[in-house]
């Protein structure tokens, strides 16, 4: 088991001539929680999109489990063990809570077209197994009693947690959360922190973008700071809080949160 789960090397990405990300490189160590912070427009979400395959880097490498995953389609990256949530909630809003979680199971299931049309015994067995599995994930985030509600009927915080359950259902080794506490109240944020620690206990590595500094300092083992597409600092929360460049960068903008 290598200690390094994911690493980025000299990654560049431009959008219409604008450098969104330049020369980014860092490592994610297994079973840790890594936070990526920085003011708006620093390129944090772009980094996440580069890792998950939603966009392709112009140059540079993304290595996951010692193998390059640069340029792979998002669905194969999920299959390799990286799952994500979105900055703005992107649930399948008209489908039920359980169906949403089952979407995460998709990549671990095998039933093909023919097995599905004929409803072969193997397909039925698999369905039963993964429905149980999905319910387990719902229980993990505390939504099991709402399994048949339409996703858009849930409260905001519940929707965030459903997104996490959905990502967990794909059996990831790395879970990427894009502003998981965004729009949550204090109570919900505390519960989210507990949830992330629970995830870490399951031996799942977590990467997250967050603007809530106290939350980041609380849950993260390591923090990467970005500004203007560049990585400006990297280290433990303690180190980052003392880092002069980080303080400057954050004083330039609003201290509390990016927006």
């Amino acid at each position: 088991m290598p200690p390094t789960l994911l690493s980025l090397h000299n990654v560049y990405k431009t959008f219409g001539g604008l450098l969104a990300v330049q020369d980014i490189g860092f490592e994610v160590i297994r079973d840790t929680v890594v936070g990526v912070i920085g003011p708006n427009g620093a390129g944090k979400t772009t980094v996440f999109n580069l890792i998950t395959g939603s966009i392709k880097p112009d140059s540079g490498k993304v290595i996951f489990l010692k193998k390059p995953i640069t340029g792979l389609k998002p669905h194969s990256i999920v299959n390799k063990g990286i799952a994500r949530t979105f900055q703005t909630i992107r649930l399948f809003s008209k489908l039920t809570v359980l169906e949403n979680v089952l979407s995460g199971c998709h990549t671990r299931m095998e039933a093909g077209l023919v097995a599905s049309i004929l409803r072969l015994p193997s397909q039925r067995r698999e369905e039963r197994k993964f429905i149980d599995r999905a319910m387990d994930e719902l229980e993990f985030v505390g939504l099991e009693s709402k399994w048949q509600h339409p996703a858009d009927s849930l409260a905001y915080g519940d929707q965030r947690r459903l997104e996490i359950a959905r990502a967990l259902a794909s059996d990831p080794q790395l879970l990427i959360l894009d502003e998981p506490a965004g729009g949550m109240n204090e109570q919900e944020t505390i519960k989210l922190g507990d949830l992330i620690r629970k995830i870490k206990k399951r031996k799942i590595t977590v990467m997250l973008i967050e603007h809530d500094m106290s939350f980041v300092m609380d849950v993260c083992d390591k923090v990467v700071v970005m500004e203007g597409g560049l990585k400006i600092a990297e280290g433990s929360p303690m180190e980052i809080q003392k880092n002069q460049r980080v303080i400057e960068a954050y004083l330039g903008v609003d201290d509390e949160n990016g927006y």
Partner: protein, 342 residues
């Protein structure tokens, strides 16, 4: 929903009874000596054929959410495959059906590759283009096989174990058997990993891809499957009509199918069936309006969409049965307020 298992049985019995009653219609017509019986059966056969087509389109349009308005092209390929194999090579109709399936599916696979990524309305016009190109190709006697504007004549009727289907009541059982097969097949599909993947794609393609669904492949397979099944419907059509010509596979035919799926409730198979009855059956029943019936039909479409924009039967949440362990676990602390929806 904890009462789901108990509720399922009566509904199954009800469905069975309804199906049996439906299948007894020809006997009933005969019993009361209804002179117009063959007409009504023929109408039901037409409805049945369109149901098969619409259910196959439903996989593409209703489940996967791809705006496909060229379904008649694949219907045509199936019909012509059957006709050509039967007339030129003496194949029996039943033997041509798998060939029709493959031919339509193959064409769909070739065509869909480069266009499958197109967004909604762009896909719509491209599929219209496909149906137009197909019709023009058939009219121009492509490969010297399609008989040009005259089409092909003298296609055999299907034989089952030496029994030749010729009367409307024979076709009634044949066609509605195929409707049943189609319905069950696509019902199983809808409630499986594959069907759910299509639902995710329809809801949000980007999120589906990010959850590990190979969206391009699934769209492609759904398209090919729906098209291939339309080919089977084409085989049935050719053997029922015994003569086919390009005018039977126009853009308007595709529009009709599109309308059936949306009107019925895109994605809901029961709705699609009811849609076929409404779109194909009602204009026949309204024959009293004579030349005004299409006027009435057009107005009815507008009204129907205004009052039921989701279609007659909007898609229902998936029926999922939990394992006993989970059902028991949820029932124990269950608050009653949560068990009465669904």
């Amino acid at each position: 929903m904890s009462d789901c298992p108990t509720r399922k049985w009566p509904s199954l019995v009800g469905t069975g009874a309804a199906a049996a009653a439906f299948l007894a219609i020809p006997l009933f017509f005969k019993a009361i000596g209804l002179r117009s019986g063959p007409y009504w059966l023929d109408l039901l056969n037409t409805v049945g054929l369109y149901t098969i087509l619409a259910l196959s389109l439903n996989v593409i349009l209703g489940h996967a959410g791809m705006f496909h308005m060229g379904h008649a092209a694949f219907f045509a390929v199936g019909a012509y495959t059957t006709a050509i194999l039967n007339l030129n090579h003496g194949w029996t109709i039943l033997a041509t059906m798998p060939a029709a399936f493959l031919a339509a599916g193959l064409l769909a696979a070739i065509l869909a590759g480069p266009i499958i990524h197109l967004r909604g309305d762009y896909l719509l016009i491209v599929t219209i283009g496909i149906v137009e190109i197909t019709r023009i190709a058939l009219s121009n006697n492509i490969f010297g096989l399609t008989g040009g504007p005259n089409g092909l004549v003298g296609i055999a009727r299907p034989s089952l174990f030496g029994f030749r289907l010729s009367k409307p009541q024979h076709f009634f059982y044949f066609i509605w058997f195929m409707v049943g097969v189609t319905y069950v097949m696509f019902y199983f599909l809808e409630n499986s990993r594959f069907g759910r993947a299509l639902k995710y794609i329809k809801e949000d393609t980007v999120a589906a891809e990010s959850m590990g669904v190979n969206t391009t492949a699934y769209k492609l397979i759904a398209f090919v499957l729906g098209a291939a099944w339309a080919g089977v419907a084409g085989a049935i059509y050719a053997s029922r009509m015994r003569t086919i010509s390009p005018d039977s596979f126009t853009f308007e035919e595709s529009v009709l199918l599109f309308t059936i799926v949306i009107l019925g409730g895109s994605g809901n198979q029961k709705g699609v069936m009811l849609g076929s009855f409404m779109v194909i059956g009602l204009p026949e029943i309204f024959r009293g309006f004579q030349d005004k019936r299409l006027l009435v039909f057009g107005a009815a479409l507008v009204l129907m969409m205004i009052f039921r924009p989701q279609g007659l039967f909007p898609p229902t949440p998936a029926r999922v049965k939990l394992s006993d362990a989970w059902s028991n676990k949820l029932v124990e602390p269950a608050t009653n307020s949560e068990s009465d929806d669904g």
